[in-house]
Amino acid sequence: MTIKKTTIVGQSFQRVESNAKVTGAAQYVDDLQFGPNLLHGRLKRSPLPHALIKRIDVSKAKALPGVRVVVTGQDYPGLTGLYLSDRPIFAVDRVRFVGEPVAGVAAETPELAEKACDLIEVEYEELPGVFDPEYGASPEAPLIHPNLGEYACAPFIFRRPGTNISNWFKVRKGNMEQGWAEADYIYEHTYRVPQVQHVPLETHATVAQVDGNGKITLWSSSQSPFAQRNLIAKSLGISHSKLRVITPYVGGGFGSKAGVSMEGACVAMALKAKGRPVKLVMSRAEEFYTTFVRQGLVAKIKMGMTKDGRITAMQNTYYWDAGAYTEYGVNITRAAGYSSTGPYYVPNVHADSLCVYTNHPIGGAMRGFGMPEIHWAIEQHIDRMAEHLGLDPVQVRLLNCLKDGQETVTGMPMHPTGLSQCIQKAAEAIGWGKPSQPSGPHKRRGKGIAAMWKAPAMPPNPGSAATIRFNEDGTCLVNIGGVDMGQGTLTIAAQLAAEGLGIPIEDVRVNTVDTDYSPYEWQTVASRITWSMGNAILAAAEEAKMQIIQMVAEVWGENPQDLDIIDGNVVSFATEESIPLKNIVVYGMQKPDGTWVGGPVVGKGRFMPTYVTPLDPETGQGPRAVVHFTTGAQAAEVEVDEETGEVRVIKLVSAYDVGKAINPDMVKTQMEGGAVQGMSTALLEQIILKNGQPLNPTFTDYRIATAVDAPLEMEDIIVEVPQDDGPFGARGIGEHAMVPTAPAIANAVRAAVGVEIDSMPITSEKVWRALREKRGANGNR
């Protein structure tokens, strides 16, 4: 790969849509106007975590004046799902979590729709529930999906019909007996992570309408307009060409708006609305437990280490609290399996990652896709073992972390990686080994570090496409299928197009997604867009550029290799001739003989990884499990109040190998946003569930960190070891930024006051309780 000098890539341009967002001009789904014809949708939801539906009576709801549509699972019995088709649009004969939709109503006003929902009578026969994944995986647990074996399923998902296990990813590598024999210290421990929610600023919002030709348009606040088109078309048995998904600006996703959650219900209601548009917007409470949440985890880690700190073996069992439907979650379980050791070279591995159905909210993609959860366990475990052996946690990580060419847990040789650099730089920036002074009495300070890795988790062949069209004035339109949900896709697209074409960034306009006009993009997930879509844009730019250069070369009678486009002008290095792009990119050019050449310039590009291989179902081994890993480390300094248990994060350092920072400021804001979100999950966040009932679906009692809770100081370090197939060497950073935050903070808390918190979040009360236990029950009172 040759990387030429860049003028636009590597510069921190202001976000291209920031003006529209700051002034309020940017339109989100809820801002779109549909006039007085608009119907308002509401969903009738299950109050029970697990029950058979004996009877649904919608007659009173239908009789209510102003109610136009009432639909139930009987109307749409089809199942859908990204990797495993286990999810109905409305429950058909059984409800599996509190909040599951059993019916939908569209009415003239939201109040009427709500009232109609109240009038729907549902008779249930309650069933015993599963509220713990370890129990759920046991033979005693009641079955949540008796038909698991009949669902359509991706070939790389290994379900166990007759159990609640919808995917079981195994790693069997090396020789465990030898690994334990070589160890001087073997430590085994269990860690827990609760379900949490993404809390995007904008909740899920959709409007659907069917026109006179039966064509359906869905306006959707989505990370996955194309995946939504695909899944909804398939579940309704209609042609993809009959469904159009439009995604305007999106107010945050963090994974919650990946795939399909409530969008199918909106389309289902619109299909019976006689051409009237139907709007369905989630309330904040609905957002908390009815769309997607992050899966919970029970992680059992057993690790062997030599007295000089080398990891000899790992036996890890991950029980995922995947919720009522695991259509997306099965692949999180898989990702956790092929990343199960963390970013370390471990010769002997026995890992089981089990996706377990529970009667909890539905687990889906969330920033990190299983990695924050498993690193919570692995990275604390390493620190505890290092302390037992009297070793420095930074040195232990440097010793074991994957180096170029070493085998990963699935047998893939690690590509060039800046992981060691990230660990070193994070440690240095936090002042590793240098104690700092607490701010007052009863306060103690400590520092902690954690490393991470994460690969884009996706099918082996997710594709991206892009087109570039020129306007008469020499500006261009870039069409992409990637969604900007706040992470900067539009800006990255503009920078890459401008760099690839040789025109100023001001001359590039990037469109939001409309599946009828935008080229295909699998989904905006997995931190894959800058890398994958970026490659498609560069290919499109190259094609457009060649169309222009060949045209000019022909007219000028020059060799195309002597021409380039610089700052919006075609220039010749041979003759020093120059011509602006204006007009020629649409009208073509007149040759000396009076005839014409060229025409409207349209560049198209695509990208799809072709080299990922299947893994053996029994050993998890294969030549290439994933496209690549982004690696990094975070270091935290905390101050703990020994009396109240409060934890204040003083400083958080993030260091990641992003391959190439296309826009360094945006990379840094990803790191900071991830650090704050990671800190928030570390200290505060948890969906509190009691027998499947969510107890805190409001911001009153689901607290998230705000600006005043953010670390007092943040430092962001960019490491650039280029990715061989990344645009200018770039890899993703969106999710990675919160992966090691929680264990780094936990390790810092442990360093400060010597207590170990096995279960996230590290609440003040947990620290207080652990401190009391440490002092002895009667020590202080």
Binding site: E111, E643, N696, R703, S764, E765, W768
Partner: protein
Amino acid sequence: MQPFDYVKPKTLEEASALLLQHNGQARPFAGCTDLLIRIERGFLHPDVVVDIKALPGMREVAVQPDGHLRIGAAATMNQVALHPAVLERWPLLAEGCASVASYQLRNRATVGGNLCNASPAADSAPALLCYEAVAHIFGPAGQRSVPLEQFFLGPGKTVLERGELLTAITVPPPAPGAVGHFLKLGRTAVGDISVVSVAVLGWPDLGAPSGTSWHIALGAVAPTPIRAAEAERLLGQDASPAGVEAASRAAAAAARPIDDIRASAAYRTDMVRVLTRRGVERVLAEMRAS
């Protein structure tokens, strides 16, 4: 959200009559930062909301000729927290009001609403209890006044009878040399409901064995905001470090908290001890310094 009628009466008599007429289905409406949420979530279904903000004196904060502070029941948290006289003479109250929710919400939320909701965690209440504030009530039988300590009956319950509304709070001037602090423990730095709160007010008192007298009030650890009388008495006896520790334990003993999703009773009880001790130490240090 269920529809309701909105009425904005001009006189206290009219407001009281409206509250009576609707057979308990009318709710007074001030900042609406709690009421609207409860209606939206379906916890309350009023037919009528009675906007009390136009009633005479409801939005005023002023020092009366007798030196008492008068806070109209619809005065906002920010009005009180930023009022020069409050900052100078009742700073403990300013601290309590300033700790409520966010700045934007404090532009709407009212002290009267905070008290009438009768949440055990009402952050304006502990300071007002320390200052021995008085609640002034208007109703069908006319005016009456109740010491704030007797105003709360339980979570969500006050002495207000049907047709009655809170019109004002008056706060007597504190003793000369009084120093107060409000300590609030929440899960996040700003905007959380108190897990535990403690207001401490101390002043020099040559008649007391310790040379100081104290008022201490606790929030979120009993069915209502409460005074910690035994802790106050002990500090009057002995304000040495040992006395402070004993008083802090007495405050913890006065707490009757519950387990809920915010914290356990055991944690809350111990936090009363910690916050009381810290509050008293801080007040003592400032009293010594002045």
